[in-house]
Symmetry: none
DNA sequence: AACACATGATTAACAAAGATAAGTATTGAT
DNA sequence: ATCAATACTTATCTTTGTTAATCATGTGTT
C-alpha cells in the first residue's frame, strides 16, 4: 500500500499529456468540459489521469452517434448530468430513498438520459423492482422495451453472490468495450442484494472491490441506490463510506426521497 | 473490512501525492488549512490520505464562493476549526459514529478547542455518555472539571422532552449572551433522546425547529452526533436531511468513526 | 473559397508557490 | 556512543500559475 498515486497532474503535465496548450486546458476547465481539482490559495489546477483519458474521444465509437445528432457531440462526452449535477464517468455514487416513489425518482432519469445518449445501461435489481422501474421508465422513454431487446439496456439476472455480481459486470464491461460501447451506466438497487440472501458485509466488500477496480477502469457511472427502510443505521453509514465519490457532490440531491 | 489507515504519509510523500512542494505543505499546515498529525520530538508531519484528498477542492464550486471563504480565512472570529475544516458559527452539523471510540473522536476535540478558545460549551447526553466524553476530555484538556464548576461547560440535566430541550437551550443561549459569552458550542449525543424516551419523530421535529431558529440566531456551532447502532436506516437518513449544513463540508469527516 | 469557430500566442498584474540559506534538534544507523 | 542524514523553523528572494483581455493562427464546415 506504499505506492503513492502520483496521478495528479498539474496543468503543464496535463497539457503535455494531451499534447495541447495550457491555454486550451484552461478554457476547457473553465467551460466545464474538462473537470479538474483545485488546490491551494492560488487555486492551481490538478488533473486526474482518468479525467484526461475520459476527455479523449474514441475514434471507433458507435456507428450511430446519438450525441452527434443532437449537435452536442464534443461538449458532454466526459460527463453526464443528473439532477443538474455534472458527473464524470468513473464515479461510483450512492443515493438513499425511503419511499416507493423515491425508488424511481433518480433511477428513471438516470437510465432514460443514458439510453438517449447511447450509453450502454445496466439495471441490477430484483424482478419486482425491475418491473417498477421499467414501468416508470417506459413512460418517459418509450423505446425502453426495444432497447432491452437490442441489449442497450441489460437487466440483471440470476446472480446470487457478490462475486458473481462482480464477474457479471466485468464480463459485460469488457464485452461492451470490445463492441465499441465505451460509455456505460449501472443502476443498482441494493436491496436486491438483501433479497438475494447476501449479507451486508458481502455487499460492502463488493462495493469496495468494485470501487477500486471496475468503477475506475471503465467509462461508467455507477449509481447504487439504497432503500433506507431495508437497512440498519450502521449499514447506511457503511454504504455512505463505500461511496466516497458521492461526497464531492451536494449530498442533499442524493439523500432522502 | 478494516482498511486500516496504516498509510500515514510523511511530508515528502504528501507533497508527491498532491504534486506540490514540501514548502507549500508546510505553509498550509502551519496556517491550519491542511490538517496533519505530528509525531516525535521533532514534531514530524504525518498525513492521512483522506485529509489530502479533502484538501483538494472540486472545480464545480463557483470561484466566487471559494474566494469568499479564502478571503476571510484569517478572520477566526467567525469560524471554528474542526479536523482542519473551517466552520462558521451558525452551522448546525451532524456526525455519524458506529463504535464507542467514534463517540469521542469528534466530540472531544470539538469541546476541547471550544473551551480553550473561551467558547461557552454545552454537552447534551445521557449521564453515562457524559462520563465517557468527560473522561476523554479531561485527558486532553485538564481544566475540564474546573470549567464545569465555572459553568464554562454546561452539562445537560433532566430534560425529557424535545420542547423542554428547546426551552433549555434558548434559556441558556439568552443568558450566555447577556453575560457576554457571545460564542458558543453545543455537542449533542442524540442517542440521549432515545434513552429519554423521545420518539425519533419528536427528535427530528426538534432538529428542524432548532435548525431554523436558535442555530441561526446565535453565534453557536451545533454538532449532533448519532450512534448509528441505535437508529434505523430511515432515521439516519432523516438525521442527515435535518442537518443540511453538513453537506457543504467533506462528509467523510463526519461519517463513520 | 469563404466562413465560423476553436486553438494558440501575447500581454498585464497579482498573489501564492517554489527555491535557497542558516541554524537546531531529533532520528536512525554504524 | 558517535555521526550523518533528516525534518524542523525562520527568513528572504525568485519563479510560477492565476485571471482577463486582445489578437493571430489554424481547423473544419458549408
Amino acid at each position: 500500500m506504499s505506492t503513492i498515486e502520483t496521478d495528479l497532474l498539474n496543468i503543464k503535465q496535463a497539457a503535455q499529456f494531451l499534447n495541447v496548450s495550457e491555454i486550451s486546458i484552461r478554457r476547457w476547465t473553465d467551460s466545464g468540459k474538462l473537470s479538474c481539482l483545485r488546490i491551494g490559495g492560488r487555486r492551481e489546477r490538478r488533473f486526474k489521469q482518468q479525467d484526461l483519458t475520459n476527455f479523449l474521444e474514441v475514434q471507433s465509437r458507435s456507428e450511430l452517434d446519438v450525441r452527434g445528432v443532437k449537435g452536442v457531440a464534443d461538449d458532454k462526452v466526459t460527463k453526464i448530468f443528473l439532477e443538474g449535477i455534472a458527473i464524470d464517468y468513473g464515479n461510483h455514487l450512492c443515493s438513499l430513498y425511503e419511499t416507493d416513489i423515491g425508488r424511481v425518482k433518480l433511477s428513471v432519469p438516470f437510465l432514460a438520459d443514458g439510453l438517449r445518449a447511447g450509453d450502454k445501461c445496466f439495471l441490477v435489481a430484483t424482478k419486482a423492482t425491475q418491473k417498477v422501474i421499467l414501468d416508470a421508465l417506459s413512460e418517459t422513454y418509450p423505446a425502453t422495451s426495444s432497447d432491452i431487446a437490442n441489449s442497450r439496456l441489460i437487466l440483471s439476472d440470476g446472480m446470487t453472490t457478490s462475486d458473481g455480481f462482480y464477474d457479471y459486470l466485468e464480463h459485460h464491461f469488457l464485452q461492451s468495450s470490445r463492441q465499441g460501447d465505451q460509455y456505460m451506466r449501472v443502476l443498482g438497487d441494493m436491496a436486491w442484494a438483501i433479497d438475494m440472501g447476501m449479507s451486508t458485509d458481502d455487499l460492502m466488500s463488493f462495493e469496495m472491490r468494485y470501487n477500486h477496480s471496475l468503477a475506475k477502469k471503465f467509462a461508467v457511472v455507477s449509481l447504487c441506490q439504497y432503500d433506507s427502510r431495508k437497512f440498519t443505521g450502521t449499514e447506511i453509514v457503511k454504504a455512505l463510506k463505500t461511496h466516497e465519490d458521492t461526497f464531492q457532490f451536494p449530498l442533499s440531491r442524493f439523500v432522502g426521497f
